[in-house]
């Protein structure tokens, strides 16, 4: 198992090294983060894989958080790129062969064109009643949601309260997912849930700790809500970790890449393959 994982990590590292010069990995910055938002079109340009990010309203602030925009858009751009390299997945590309990712609101019909959606910094998320109903409908129809990058007790409380509006815990309890679950072995055998910090924090502490909230974020968690109909995981929560930053920032610092990106991509690929089969 360890040998397989090591091979996978080496593959990831090799791929990253080869493509580290790829311009797409480095065209980022504060300005672009606040650039135009690519709202999902009414009709998707193709049926290839794409990532849709949920645009939501933040009702509170988290340190170093940026609300729904956190890790947008390069988290998904880089992830899609790597996904197409590491797997046979055909990703949606524009005419310039660049990955196409989209943003959707929970109230948009376009949400239902994206069987896979992500959200970051969900410790600030506030859901209206209509948004909660739409999210539940989306998930029960077969949609898959991965929320990431929220840290500490307060963020968890906020998120768990909001998701509880859509999926009441009495019906849809949140569970910690065992590492024996099939979601951790769809392509790479994931043996631990990496605690990944954002690159600024990592630089700030010189890589000495990965607890962005100190003792309030002692370790990362992989939690989930299952479909009561068939037991499939339909909501994945990577808590006290910022997996998407290991994708978004993979090209900014080789040390950061080496420490976080192989694990981040391994987890990302496994979760995505699970979402596409379950």
């Amino acid at each position: 198992m360890f040998a397989r994982r090591r091979i996978a990590l080496l593959v990831l590292a090799a791929v990253a090294a080869v493509s580290s010069l790829a311009s797409a990995q480095f065209r980022r910055g504060f300005g672009e983060r606040n650039g135009p938002v690519r709202m999902a079109p009414a009709i998707m340009p193709d049926s290839d894989f794409t990532v849709c990010r949920i645009m939501y309203t933040s009702v509170r602030r988290e340190a170093s958080g940026n609300g729904w925009r956190t890790d947008y858009p390069y988290g998904e751009i880089n992830f899609m790129t790597r996904l197409s390299q590491l797997t046979k997945t055909r990703i949606s590309r524009n005419a310039a062969r660049e990955p196409q990712q989209w943003v959707v609101r929970l109230t948009d019909d376009t949400l239902f064109n994206c069987p896979y959606v992500v959200a970051s910094d969900v410790g600030t998320m506030g859901l209206s009643d209509i948004e909660a109903r739409r999210l539940r409908l989306y998930l029960e129809k077969g949609g898959f949601l991965w929320v990431d990058d929220f840290w500490g007790t307060a963020a968890w409380a906020q998120w768990s309260r909001e998701i509880g509006k859509a999926l009441p815990p009495s019906e849809f309890p949140i569970e910690d997912v065992s590492l024996n679950d099939p979601i951790f072995s769809t392509q790479v055998n994931v043996t631990r849930i990496p605690q990944i910090t954002n690159i600024q924090f990592w630089r700030g502490v010189d890589g000495t700790t990965t607890r962005e909230r100190g003792s309030d974020s002692p370790e990362s968690s992989f939690r989930a809500i299952r479909d009561k109909r068939d037991g499939r995981i339909m909501v994945v929560m990577t808590f006290n970790t910022d997996v998407a930053d290991s994708w978004e920032r993979e090209g900014e610092d080789p040390a950061y890449f080496a420490q976080f990106s192989p694990d981040g991509y391994a987890l990302g690929v496994d979760v995505l393959l699970y979402a596409m089969t379950h």
């Binding site: 009709i43 193709d46 049926s47 894989f49 590491l86 797997t87 046979k88 997945t89 055909r90 019909d109 376009t110 949400l111 239902f112 064109n113 069987p115 896979y116 409908l137 029960e140 129809k141 077969g142 949609g143 099939p182 769809t186 392509q187 109909r229 068939d230 499939r232 995505l272 393959l273 979402a275 596409m276 089969t277 379950h278």
Partner: protein, 763 residues
């Protein structure tokens, strides 16, 4: 006696049979020859006299008068020769006549002047004083038989029950012939409606009768024209289905006299209505096919009934119901779904059929080069190395779904194996649309392309898709009535539902259809162009299906689709069930669906090895569980007729359902088993097509030298049998000169001559 027979006998003294059977003779004695010479002289003189008459000079008159005079002389001359018929007539009370009376249920049909056919038999053959029996008894020793499936002696007339569940003409004639062996028999009288319900050919029985020169006189009872009646003519049902299968049942209804009337066709599963459809009956004698959707929810051998509500004035109501035994199997059928790339189609397809307890979709997804994700495998070794590399491994599945996976992902042998999976194993292949499917997947020129219903140019090489078509899908006429594409309760609702579904996409270049393939769904793109979306064809023993779409998950996820909508689930469940439907196993058991209690049952089994090569050296045994629970083991032997075919026979002792399980082994290794069911019970076939069938009765009569009668003509039957010339006979002469027709003819000619003379002024 009908007018013709009465008139004939009045004019010719004798019945037609005397003329048919008799030998014509003239008395050529010296005196008659002398008389002929005199007559010749008279005729010559007459000619000469007429030639000499020159008063009027009209040649035509002379010719007419000459001919008439000649005719008069000729008739007289004919009588002088003493024309005689020599006939062989049965010696009274020296010969046997067998009377076979139809004792089957169809004789209860009330179409003999509004009375049951049986009443004719009771009236004409029911007692010693009955007219026909009396006439026969005066001439013959009469042996009466009643028959339905076979003929048995009717010791007492009240032994007729008219409740036999079959009419088997040929075996009944054979039985009677054997009973009469060695006796002087003048003929056989067969009284029946001619509605033979057996599949035994008449030819052999007729050969035996002809060899013995035994004439059969047939009496057709009943009306050849159907009365007002509605009938379930036939029903197409599968022999076995999976539990919870949605069945599209084709029920053919025929009728007489109810054109334009709307009736309801119900499908019952052991008394519970599981499907219903109204239909307006078309014009007279035009069959109408009614498609009824029903679900087989209960496992086991189930008797399905197909029923049209009886009308108040129907002649026969028993034919408003038909039955069929369907084995509803509660087992898991394994399907291998190989997807060449991660995509959402796999997730939603698996999810659509997840609740179906009778389907096991084993998913094999190539996630990366030489990396495979296996889901729902039975054991850790299953598909460990990816797509099966041996026939044994692949043929363990009943159906194979190929997603977006290119031909290059397989070895040449694997491609051939896939084609063999369909052709030889009898499995089903479904290829889905995608960037790596069909022509874009490089399947042109491969054995898989041979199997597919769409034609891929062999010169096509694998390539990236060149476009994307957004398609609105709609069923074809064939698709409207197909079990796979029925996405609503009725055909109309289903067609309407298809039109409401959101667009889906296809990236493969449209391909032409192969001859013999059937299109179930078409797609129309935004430019109005139509292309095939779902098509299938039979390929060898199995079926190959092409679904060119790549994202049917839109029918589940699209915002326009409600959470409760089951269209996507139904489509895929029906598709998967259709794929595994009828796919043979290692041991396939066949037998008749129904037998009469006490009849022997022949069980046949086709036995193959795991790679579906027929085996002739297997140990095969059938375990028969009778209705009472008793088990009989029936050894089965290779037939020698066909590779892998075994046969055994047992007798159905009791009425009820029999379960037949056939086990096959070879060299001590179990190969597999198969099960089927059959019923022992009376058939209701007698009430179907219950008009009088005169064709077989006429054929029997004509080929054996007998005659066909109706109730109106039966009075002369005894006399006709007498002159049939069979049995102990004596030669009798029948003078013809004194027939009334001769005198009438003579008088007519004389009167004609006199009248003509008057008319032309020669009198």
């Amino acid at each position: 006696m009908p007018l013709f027979d009465t008139l004939f006998q009045a004019l010719f003294t004798y019945r037609p049979v005397v003329f048919q059977e008799g030998e014509f003779r003239l008395d050529l004695s010296a005196s008659t020859i002398a008389a002929a010479v005199v007559a010749g002289v008279v005729m010559t003189a007459a000619v000469v006299t007429y030639r000499g008459v020159r008063i009027t000079g009209r040649l035509r008159d002379r010719i007419v008068l000459t001919v008439l005079r000649m005719a008069v002389v000729a008739v007289v001359l004919f009588c002088l020769f003493r024309p005689t018929l020599i006939v062989r007539a049965a010696v009274p009370q020296q010969n046997v006549v067998a009377v076979l009376l139809d004792d089957s249920r169809s004789m209860q049909v009330p179409d003999w002047g509004g009375q049951p056919r049986a009443n004719f038999i009771r009236e004409q053959f029911g007692a010693a004083t009955s007219p026909v029996v009396k006439a026969l008894s005066e001439r013959f020793l009469v042996r009466t038989f009643r028959f339905s499936s076979t003929a048995t002696r009717a010791e007492a007339k009240d032994s007729l029950t008219f409740n036999g569940s079959q009419t088997r003409l040929a075996p009944s004639l054979e039985s009677a012939r054997n009973e009469l062996a060695g006796l002087p028999v003048s003929g056989v009288v067969l009284v029946s409606d001619g509605a033979d319900t057996s599949d035994v050919s008449l030819t052999d029985a007729l050969l035996g009768l002809k060899a013995q020169k035994l004439p059969v006189f047939t009496v057709g009872v009943g009306s050849a024209k159907p009365a007002r009646d509605i009938q379930i003519d036939r029903v197409s049902t599968p022999k076995a289905v999976l539990k919870d299968a949605a069945l599209m049942l084709n029920i053919v209804v025929t009728h007489t006299g109810y054109a334009g009337k709307t009736v309801t066709v119900d499908v019952e599963d052991e008394g519970r209505i599981v499907g219903s459809q109204q239909v307006q009956l078309p014009g007279e004698n035009t069959p109408v096919t009614v498609r009824v959707r029903a679900v087989a929810t209960d496992a086991g051998p189930r008797v399905f009934k197909f029923r049209v509500t009886p009308q108040p004035d129907e002649a026969v109501t028993q034919n408003n119901v038909r039955e069929a035994l369907i084995e509803v199997r509660d087992r898991k059928e394994k399907i291998l779904y190989f997807e060449g790339e991660p995509r959402f189609e796999m997730k939603f397809l698996r999810r659509a059929v997840a609740d179906d307890k009778n389907l096991q979709v084993v998913a094999l997804q190539r996630t990366a080069d030489n990396k495979f994700l296996r889901i729902d495998v039975d054991n850790p070794d299953e598909l460990l190395g990816g797509f099966p590399k041996t026939r044994d491994e692949l043929f363990a599945y009943r159906a194979l779904v190929l997603g977006s996976v290119e031909a290059g992902a397989f070895t040449g042998d694997q491609l051939q194996m896939i084609a063999d999976f369909v052709d030889r194993r009898g499995g089903s292949l479904l290829m889905l649309g995608g960037a790596r499917s069909f022509g874009e997947g490089g399947y042109g020129g491969t054995p898989v392309a041979d199997a597919l219903p769409l034609l891929i140019d062999p010169a096509t090489r694998a390539s990236e898709p060149k476009g994307l078509a957004r398609l609105q899908v709609s069923p074809t006429r064939a698709g409207e009535g197909h079990a796979v594409t029925q996405v609503a309760g009725t055909e109309a609702a289903s067609a309407a539902r298809w039109r409401q579904l959101p667009q889906v996409t296809a990236v493969n270049a449209p391909l032409p259809l192969k001859p013999g393939a059937t299109v179930l769904l078409n797609g129309t793109d935004e430019g109005g162009r139509t292309q095939t979306v779902l098509a299938w064809q039979q390929y060898g023993r199995g079926k190959a299906v092409a679904l060119t779409l790549q994202d049917t998950w839109q029918w589940q996820m699209n915002a326009a689709i409600s959470l409760e909508d089951q269209t996507h689930e139904n489509f895929w469940r029906q598709m998967m069930r259709w794929l595994v439907d009828g796919v043979p196993g290692v041991v396939e058991v066949h037998t008749t669906e129904r037998v009469e209690p006490g009849e022997p049952v022949t069980v046949e089994a086709d036995v193959v090895d795991p790679s579906f090569v027929e085996l002739n050296d297997a140990a095969v045994i059938a375990h028969v569980i009778a209705p009472g629970g008793a088990t009989v083991n029936v050894p089965m032997a290779w037939t020698g007729d066909r590779d892998g075919q075994y046969r055994g026979t047992f007798v159905s002792t009791d009425a009820g359902a029999y379960e037949v399980t056939v086990d096959a082994s070879r060299g001590g290794t179990q190969l597999g088993s198969g099960t089927t069911f059959l019923r022992a019970g009376p058939s209701d076939a007698e009430y179907f097509d219950a008009t009088m069938h005169d064709a077989p009765l006429r054929r029997i009569a004509e080929e054996t030298g007998g005659r066909f009668y109706t109730p109106d003509t039966v009075a002369g039957l005894a006399e006709d049998v007498r002159y049939a010339g069979r049995g102990v006979t004596s030669v009798e002469e029948r003078e013809l000169w004194n027939m009334p027709i001769v005198l009438i003819g003579l008088m007519g000619l004389v009167c004609a001559e006199w009248g003509y003379r008057r008319a032309v002024g020669l009198a």
